[in-house]
Subunit: 326 residues, 2 copies
Amino acid sequence: MLKKGELVSFRPDIKVVDCTIRDGGLVNNFEFTDEFVRELYKTNIKAGVDYMEFGYRADKDLFDESKFGKWKFCTDDDIRSIVGDNEAGLKISVMADVGRTNFKRDICPKNESPVDMIRVATYIHTIPSALEIVEYCNKLGYETTVNIMAVSKSNDNDLSDALEIIGQSCVDSIYIVDSYGSLYPEQMRRLAAKYLECGEKYNKIIGIHAHNNQQLAFANTIEALTMGVSYLDSTVSSLGRGAGNCPTELLLGFLKNPKYHITPVLKFIEHEIIKLKEEGVVWGYDIPYLLTGRLNQHPRDAIRFMADKRTDYAAFYQYLYDKDSF
Amino acid sequence: MLKKGELVSFRPDIKVVDCTIRDGGLVNNFEFTDEFVRELYKTNIKAGVDYMEFGYRADKDLFDESKFGKWKFCTDDDIRSIVGDNEAGLKISVMADVGRTNFKRDICPKNESPVDMIRVATYIHTIPSALEIVEYCNKLGYETTVNIMAVSKSNDNDLSDALEIIGQSCVDSIYIVDSYGSLYPEQMRRLAAKYLECGEKYNKIIGIHAHNNQQLAFANTIEALTMGVSYLDSTVSSLGRGAGNCPTELLLGFLKNPKYHITPVLKFIEHEIIKLKEEGVVWGYDIPYLLTGRLNQHPRDAIRFMADKRTDYAAFYQYLYDKDSF
């Protein structure tokens, strides 16, 4: 097996990307208070986190602004209201979904923006549209990534073709995204090897974004990193859609680079995450997510099941199984 | 890397060992109702689980019977009251802790007992005492295992010596036990390779018992199994000390042998586990367990922290760190 680094050393190419506001926004409709976001920003700086993703840059013509918190749209001004001139070393990213962002209108030149990196989320069949955004943002001076979502649903040939096309683009980084939390470590290592081969050939950074449906988000993240993957997405206390993501506190506990500190994250959990839970925001591993993950399905049915406060897991499993199989 | 089997096939040597009552008893002082134990027994039969561990066979001279539920002692009569003549294929095990069991008095010949397997839990420095119990039980006709606890604390030379001695005994199976939930998959694979080498040499089955302090119990279990480990411990909904264990529902979702069925376990969770949680029994992954796991410490401080309903995680981490380091 490929292996980069050992358990007692660290690789300087590794970067931690905090997605708490962006992926967590899918849980609470992006209704974070400014205080929460500001505290998280300060936490990330103290913890040595490398990037903080503030949200989506969604098109206000497509989504009704009154129905979402501002971090679904996160304008440069919204971000500036938190970070000022962002004089810390922490870099800032936003996510642009293919087909949901008016990038030519809403993304200005890098030297006028607090944003450092634009991450483009795409399904495998919309990669040309993703690359259009990447080329545009690259010319404006941003770092860029292509995040191929739901890779557990792609067939291997399509993925090879996709990686070739993306490899030939100007993008800086390509992400493995286990949107459904359905991949086992063995599969993750195989995917990482495939992406890393492309990264080697075209000089691209490889990243990983995991979901915790089967309690494997942390395991898959560190397995991918052990293979050579460098950009590691995480969220504080797993705060992200459905079962959530690789928890930052577990990831920082694993990483050996002395720049990373777990204590600020523990304090943020004490002061902010507990409050959020008490307010009734619900996320994280639970049986319904295990079931959609295990069946390699989108978590939407599980999210509804949880929202309805149902607990008839066996009937739900039968429903999911039949829906997909017969 | 060693590898036995693929993700689409199954290995008939794999056995699932349900430890819900035994490890879960450490959470609720073994105060399970007979109904709970009986429902679990029926569930295990329907789910295709191979072994069910009913508890410890603790010495009633050492522990005050009035202070624990009966499954800490689980006599043959206690077990019979649940399983009758146990006509199903499910095998039954009990655990004997070195130094806490009066095996010569409390273990009768196999043909007079409903128990099939005696598992002997030992630290690495009490292995001769463990083997005394093993030899005794083996002569009485039982299957036996040696479970070396807290292996993350052992040094490699001691462990090599221990495996040699155990290998030369009559024991059937040797267990990797990550008592503190501190091992990463990479370390688990290295340990599995070491145990499997001994297993190959002396014709012993290798087993794994994981804890979920770092959300790695399931990952470590399937990684060890992929290497060739055969006996897989799990508990329903992770019900076990501290952060709990590899969840049966995740493990059965992974295993490909058609004898295994996840639905009975889902029903048990609906009907019994939810009730247990509503009654106030608390277990499973949480920040304090992550911290003891990360520091390779016994979970006792985390258990107390949780019982005290504290949430000052950062201070707790500092305490654990200082206690162990300076």
